[in-house]
């Protein structure tokens, strides 16, 4: 076996310089070898990113400090290296790409110059040689029209293109180690698939060792040679991919894998004869950009979308970013006004009535948003947040607070949480509060706009279960917007697949997600990472099919 490119041994990272500070990383040891991809997996707060930033020497100075252990890059100790030496090593020996391609590039410098900076800092090449090398690298990451993109500013490029620029920047000097910190998390599945393939191919060509950080088991199954599972700063388990996925030895790993929603749709519920509570008819939304001189621009965000939702059922709208799924949800709730088309809520047309007249209907449809950290007012107590809706509709304060307590218990939180504030709760708990707030008005329809996308898988599984249980108890209809086909497969009765504002395909979830008719739906399913693995049953999907057949 070759020597490890990266050798982290018994690393401890603490808060602050003083001894006795809380340990964020507590005795981690991992090795990554040439041509090998090690996936560092864990939920938020497990210390994955801190591990990578420690390696790069990019920890925020003074707040997080490596207190013991060693980090060796091709045999050279990094923890004791000078700032100057670390700067020399960055980009030449070790490079890093980050999660958010939208913000990782400097918005006021053309991307070509941002790559050029690496070469100017570390090589003595002249301008012509540098440009040639950059264009060559940009071609290697499969960017089109490299000359044009070279001179472009980041905001002119798509998320996928920006991530390719980041990869080009990281690999242009052929470093021995590439650290990829959730590099595809912010991307659409189809783009994600391309980027994963790209990293794989480049690794093969250059022999790079890759430390790949992710929370997504699907991605792990796609790219890892070996897996290291982290939890609360400790290493839980490490081993080759197959071993960890098939025979996880630790309880935590088993639970983590079991929480991954399966791409195989849940058994269909029998067809419903309940009344239709929500109907959208040829709903369209066109954004017009008016220009002072010259012609304005039109963007069709939603184009003649038709859908129906029955009492007690869940309808999923799936699609990639920019497909118009959130626009449709917002038009239905009338947070924005549709340009044309109709919305019938409990038999009443609401798409064209004025905002004032809409008021009594609003309580029938409530929405839960994606980011539980921003959707609750931080200065209002949880109880007041939940009670605000009913109070607006004339319920007395005392009654509304009593109801808030009941609702908190319904979503699995203690009733005395009413007097606490959002920052005292975790992300999953906050999303439960947001659901309780939406339920406070006894709506007929609950709209969940990417409501579980920001949550860790184990929490995600709990919230999905909660929604399912609430639906059974209250008979509420749920409109579930998501980009995640796994989630859609587990919660939806019917799905609508959207692309570029149009409905591409719709039908029962079990049907659409197993036998897609349209090319786009097929491509989406095909791009879903780890589609060949049935994580919850610790086996590849094919074996599961064989076993049941």
């Amino acid at each position: 076996m070759t020597n490890p490119v990266l050798d982290i041994n018994n690393l401890v990272v603490s808060v602050g310089k003083k001894p006795g500070g809380a340990k964020i990383i507590d005795g981690i040891s991992i090795q990554v070898r040439e041509r090998e991809t090690l996936c560092l997996v864990g939920e938020s707060g497990s210390g994955k990113s801190v591990t990578s930033l420690t390696t790069m020497g990019l920890l925020p100075k003074g707040t997080l400090v490596p207190t013991s252990g060693s980090v060796k890059l091709v045999g050279e100790e990094l923890l004791t290296a000078t700032d100057r030496r670390l700067r020399q090593l960055r980009a030449t020996q070790m490079a890093m790409i980050f999660q958010e391609p939208m913000t990782a590039l400097n918005p006021v410098v053309p991307v070509g110059r941002q790559i050029d900076e690496v070469l100017r800092a570390h090589t003595k090449l002249d301008a012509k040689a540098r440009k040639k090398r950059i264009l060559d690298m940009m071609e290697q990451v499969r960017l089109p029209q490299v000359e044009r993109i070279f001179a472009s500013y980041p905001h002119r490029l798509s998320g996928g293109q920006r991530q390719r620029i980041m990869i080009a920047m990281a690999l242009v000097l052929e470093p021995k180690l590439l650290i990829a910190d959730e590099p595809t998390t912010a991307l659409d599945v189809t783009t994600q698939k391309q980027i994963l393939t790209l990293i794989r191919d480049l690794q093969r060509d250059h022999g790079t060792a890759v430390l790949f950080i992710t929370h997504d088991m699907g991605v792990v199954a796609e790219i890892a040679d070996r897996v290291a599972v982290m939890r609360q700063g400790r290493l839980v388990e490490t081993g080759p991919l197959e071993t960890v996925l098939r025979n996880p030895t630790m309880e935590y790993t088993r639970n983590l894998l079991a929480s991954v929603p399966s791409l195989v749709p849940r058994p269909p519920r029998e067809e419903s004869r309940e009344p239709i509570v929500l109907e959208a008819n040829e709903l369209s939304k066109v954004y017009k950009e008016r220009a002072l001189f010259g012609k304005g621009r039109e963007v069709v965000a939603a184009d003649k979308v038709t859908l129906t939702l029955r009492k007690g059922r869940t309808l999923g709208i799936v699609g990639e970013s920019g497909s118009g799924k959130s626009t449709v949800a917002r038009c239905i709730v009338r947070l924005i006004d549709p340009t044309s088309g109709g919305v019938r809520l409990a038999g009443r047309e609401i798409s064209d009535i004025s905002r004032r007249l809409l008021q009594p209907h609003r309580q029938k449809i409530q929405i839960v948003f994606q980011d539980p950290y921003r959707s609750l007012n931080p200065r209002v107590s949880v109880g007041e947040s939940i009670a605000e809706g009913p109070i607006n509709y004339g319920v007395s304060h005392a009654d509304a607070m009593k109801r808030a307590r009941e609702l908190l218990e319904l979503v699995g939180l203690p009733a005395d949480a009413v007097s606490r504030y959002p920052h005292q709760f975790s992300g999953g708990q906050r999303q439960r509060i947001a659901i309780a707030r939406a339920l406070a008005l006894d709506p007929d329809v609950l709209v969940a706009d990417e409501a579980v996308s920001a949550l860790d898988v184990s929490v995600q599984a709990q919230v999905l279960e909660l929604l399912d249980e609430i639906q059974k108890r209250l008979g509420i209809a749920i409109l579930f917007i998501t980009h995640d086909l796994r989630v859609a497969a587990q919660i939806c009765d019917e799905v609508v697949v959207m692309q570029h504002g149009r409905v591409v395909e719709q039908g029962p979830a079990a049907e659409v997600l197993t036998h897609p008719q349209e090319a786009y739906t097929k491509a989406l399913l095909d791009a879903a990472p780890g589609r060949n693995w049935d994580f919850a049953n610790f086996r590849p999907v094919a074996e599961g099919v064989a076993a049941t057949a």
């Binding site: 670390l86 090593l89 960055r90 890093m96 920047m169």
Partner: protein, 313 residues
């Protein structure tokens, strides 16, 4: 870019129009006879009639406005009631000192304050940061005339390095101009250094938390390049705004400094005109001040587009 510039200049026209209308109405709509206001308390009836005649006050309001604007466009701002000199000429003499002092002050302030702010943000939380912030509190709290008199006492009276006060045009030689400019510029720049340093520090601290700064560090380039190329340019927009508005304020309102150093600038002209109710001069000053703000804002907006490619109007 050129199209944008033209559109912006065109958009400034209605703004100036509204200001002109307001200035015109200022005199006409104040209660009582404008001629009586203009003539003052001890005017003879003949003088009143003469003023009415000269202002065309016997004409309908709309005709008066058109005549007035027409004169305005030909550079005729009327005649001062006190000195009997054309207002245009009076202002013309005062513009150079005011612009000189404003430019010198803002240049000095930027040269000193921006590096201070950058260093404070870079060394955030250290004694350097606290020292710079302490200086800026001092800059805010010491009145400009105190700084001015102290500077005069030390450098002009005790050390005899520069003249005590006064102003010489730059067209009569750079030396005399420069030595008279040093003290007022230093005195005035105090507060602007404090303001701009603070803004720069705050804007830099915001930007230093951004992902692309981390990316820049991950490339292994040195800290100076990270600060200058990646952080400062992104932090520049709010800083430019403060510098621009600061400059506009400086041109139109540095009465105290002008008084302390006996500089014949626009600020003192305005105060004198207001105290003497010299309406034509006041009107002209309002127009001039608005014009300065419009032009400065235009320059700020142009600077934005140059600094940040995402800003397009």
């Amino acid at each position: 870019m050129l199209g944008y510039l033209i559109r912006r200049v065109l958009a400034a026209v209605p703004v100036m129009g509204v200001v002109a209308l307001f200035v015109f109405l200022l005199l006409r709509l104040t209660p009582g006879d404008p001629a009586a206001i203009l003539a003052g308390d001890n005017a003879t009836p003949e003088r009143l009639e003469r003023i009415r005649e000269s202002l065309g006050l016997n004409e309908p309001l709309i005709v008066q406005f058109i005549t007035w604007v027409n004169k305005l466009l030909h550079g005729d701002l009327g005649t001062s009631l006190i000195s009997n000199l054309p207002v245009m000429k009076m202002i013309g003499q005062r513009v150079e000192p005011s612009i000189s002092i404003a430019l010198c002050t803002i240049i000095l302030a930027v040269i000193v304050a921006v590096p201070l702010g950058v260093i404070a943000a870079w060394k955030h939380g250290t004694w350097i940061d606290r020292f710079v912030m302490g200086l800026s509190v001092l800059g805010f709290s010491v009145p400009v005339f105190v700084v001015g008199y102290v500077l005069i006492e030390v450098f002009a009276i005790d050390l005899r390095l520069v003249p005590v006060q006064g102003f010489r045009s730059i067209f009569n030689g750079f030396g005399p101009f420069f030595e008279r400019m040093i003290l007022p510029t230093c005195a005035l720049s105090f507060i602007y250094i404090a303001l701009i340093a603070r803004m720069t520090r705050a804007a830099m601290l915001d930007v230093l938390g951004e992902d692309y700064v981390r990316t820049a560090r991950a490339k292994g380039i040195n800290e100076v390049a990270v600060m200058m190329r990646h952080a400062l340019r992104n932090a520049a927009v709010p800083v430019i705004t403060v510098i621009g508005t600061g400059f506009a304020l400086l041109i139109s309102g540095v009465v105290v400094t002008e008084s302390v150093f006996n500089i014949p600038g626009i600020g003192r002209l305005t105060v004198d005109a207001v105290l003497a109710r010299d309406y034509p001069v006041i009107q002209a000053m309002i127009l001039l001040t608005s014009l300065i703000y419009v032009v400065v804002n235009l320059l700020i907006d142009v600077a934005y587009t140059l600094l940040d490619p995402r800003i397009r109007y």
